[in-house]
């Protein structure tokens, strides 16, 4: 392989790009500005919502409050404001006028006095994120009330309160504090993968399809430099640019997590972790660049190449969506599947989980293997007669 030619081409492409100030600035600085902004912005919003919903006074419309004055008084003592009920509770919840409505059965009093289970009903919409916290708050208060009364009744009849609980459920959440923070960062992998995968897209498309359109590819390919070397030089330039842009993203992530308020501050952004993050993203840069080179070498115009972009932007989203709908256990094969593998690796890093040597091996082997396969395919396309001829 002709290393001098590869470096000559790569250097020229980088000079050419860096003289195009606007394109260069957009490619280099958009990620480092946007990603932390989104993170800290969205993170702060989520934090604020959770805090206000947990701590503020909850407004709860109650149907039939008159049937259970004790229960209502208990609710009020737990920082819940009782509102008069809407005419149609189901509809009010569906129309999002209220997050939830409590309905107390008219027979509540009678059942209560007969020491039977008295009926109450929670009306809510489980598909709405916003109702989750209020529903669990009210449910918790109702359970507490039910337990308290049940225990008192038992004691009253000389029965140990423990008789009423055949099974006692203890809960132990094994999520590490780091992992819980990881949930906040669920979409970090997508953004990082997207930027490493397509961060250099404009450059990659330009150096092949654009150069062809500007008709400068024909004289270039008439030089004695091997076509594979010319293509590799272009790929190298795009990879270097992509890595520089990623480095800036990682540095800006590090700084913003260090300066961020709240739990975000606790994310491990030490230099070794950030270096691992870069290593994880490296195969993605190669795969993205070679795939785009392949596309750019096979299409007729820059416009045609660009129309592939929306599909490509969707690709890194697939594992995030699949994992959200159908969470799977981490298994070794997952580290060989493009996009899914990146997703898993980044999550592990963010959650401060150990990555085994075997996982690294499978991951890097599969990532660079895919890059190499695409590189070979692209090199084949570069040898096509049609590539050089633009008009």
């Amino acid at each position: 392989m002709n290393l001098a030619a590869i470096w000559t081409v790569a250097k020229k492409e980088l000079i050419d790009l860096f003289r195009d100030r606007k394109t260069m600035a957009l490619g280099l600085f958009m990620g480092p500005v946007l990603i932390p902004a989104m993170f800290l912005g969205v993170g702060a919003l989520a934090e604020k919502r959770v805090r206000t919903q947990l701590e503020s006074t909850l407004e709860l419309p109650v149907v039939g409050a008159e049937h259970a004055p004790n229960l209502v008084a208990f609710l009020e003592s737990r920082n819940i404001d009782i509102l008069p009920p809407p005419a149609d509770p189901d509809r009010a919840v569906r129309d999002q006028e209220h997050d939830l409505v409590l309905r107390i059965d008219p027979e509540f009093g009678e059942q209560w006095r007969g020491s039977r289970a008295a009926k109450v009903e929670l009306v809510y919409d489980s598909s709405r994120q916003d109702s989750q916290i209020p529903v669990s708050r009210v449910r918790g208060v109702l359970t507490e009330y039910s337990r308290t009364v049940g225990v008192l009744r038992g004691i009253h009849r000389g029965i140990s309160p423990e008789v009423a609980f055949a099974v006692q459920i203890g809960q132990r959440d094994v999520a590490t504090p780091e992992a819980r923070r990881g949930m906040l960062l669920a979409f970090l992998p997508y953004l990082l993968v997207l930027f490493s995968f397509l961060g250099g897209a404009a450059l990659v498309i330009d150096v092949t399809a654009g150069e062809r359109e500007r008709q400068s590819l024909e004289p270039l390919l008439a030089t004695p430099a091997p076509r594979a070397a010319i293509m590799s030089g272009k790929i190298l330039a795009a990879c270097l640019f992509g890595m520089l842009s990623l480095l800036l993203i990682v540095v800006s992530l590090k700084l913003s997590f260090q300066l961020a308020p709240g739990p975000m501050r606790m994310v491990d952004v030490s230099v070794p972790v950030m270096a691992q993050l870069l290593l994880v993203l490296l195969p993605m840069v190669l795969v993205g660049t070679t795939l785009l080179t392949l596309i750019a070498a096979s299409v007729k115009s820059v416009k045609e190449a660009q129309s592939y972009m929306s599909v490509l932007m969707f690709l890194p989203m697939v594992p995030t969506i699949v994992l959200m709908v159908n969470p799977v256990k981490t298994q070794l094969w997952q580290f060989a599947v493009p996009f899914l593998a990146q997703n898993q690796m980044i999550l592990k890093l963010v959650r401060s989980e150990a990555i085994t040597a075997q996982e690294w091996l499978v991951y890097l082997g599969a990532g660079f293997g895919a890059g190499l396969a695409l590189w070979l395919l692209a090199a084949r396309l570069y040898h096509r007669e049609k590539l050089a001829i633009s008009a």
Binding site: K12, I15, R19, S216, E218, P219, P224
Partner: protein, 247 residues
């Protein structure tokens, strides 16, 4: 020294297969300027593209200085200086950087590149724009940059596809002088044109191409004698068989 024998090339398009080159063959000797003359769409550019190894002929053979293009295209590209129909110079690089880029791809060292650039800039009168970025160059400045870039490695054989296209009178004159110099240095110069006067003013031998076939080969005087016509334009129209086309 360039030898083309019985070249064939066709393209498949939406409207069916176009047989662009049908059995073109000629010889271009060292120390001579050979003109490839033909109307638009005659197959000149396709023939030249096969010569400078960008396209493979379906049939036929090309030799440059005795090297078969099909066997060793890289060696052939080293011996050729090519100015394609598409000039394609990089607008964010200066003229000098454009030339140096190709010099490096030809494997030249920096000192040679510098010396060659100075020499070419002098002969082509490029000094006042050599270190400017090529964005906004005039057609003449762009062509000069592309020619200097094509010849940076001092090739024995020079191929120029319609070099005078879009140039004004003085630039064209300067370019003719430059091509004669190349010839007098003993190089093999091939250039294509669709203008008879252009070819007649410069060429030692003319190859007339029309509809993908060679119609005639000879000096301007031989072609006049062949047709019995005194006016070169009439000679061209007759040889290329364009009379029917015009009507």
């Amino acid at each position: 020294m360039i030898l083309l024998e019985n070249l064939h090339k066709s393209f498949r398009g939406k409207a069916g297969t176009v047989h662009a080159v049908k059995g073109v063959g000629f010889e271009a000797r060292d120390g001579e300027i050979t003109g490839l003359l033909g109307p638009n769409g005659a197959g000149k550019t396709t023939t030249l593209r096969m010569l400078y190894t960008l396209m493979a002929p379906e049939q036929g053979r090309i030799e440059v200085d005795g090297i078969d293009v099909a066997k060793d295209p890289t060696a052939v590209r080293r011996r050729l200086g090519v100015l394609p129909d598409a000039r394609g110079i990089y607008k964010r690089l200066t003229a000098r950087e454009n030339i140096a880029y190709f010099g490096r791809l030809h494997g030249l060292d920096e000192a040679t590149i510098r010396a060659r650039t100075e020499a070419m800039a002098k002969t082509l009168a490029m000094d006042d724009f050599l270190d400017r970025r090529t964005e906004g160059f005039s057609q003449g400045q762009r062509t000069k940059t592309a020619i200097a870039r094509a010849l940076v490695h001092d090739p024995r054989n020079v191929i120029l596809d319609e070099p005078t296209n879009g140039l004004d009178v003085m630039t064209t004159r300067g370019l003719r002088g430059f091509l004669r110099e190349l010839r007098d240095e003993g190089r093999c110069v091939v250039f294509s044109s669709h203008i008879m006067q252009e070819v007649a003013a410069l060429c030692d031998r003319i190859v007339v191409i029309a509809h993908g076939e060679v119609r005639a080969i000879g000096t301007p005087d031989e072609l006049r004698a062949m047709t019995g016509l005194p006016d070169l334009e009439d000679v061209f129209v007759r040889l290329a068989g364009l009379e029917g086309d015009a009507a």
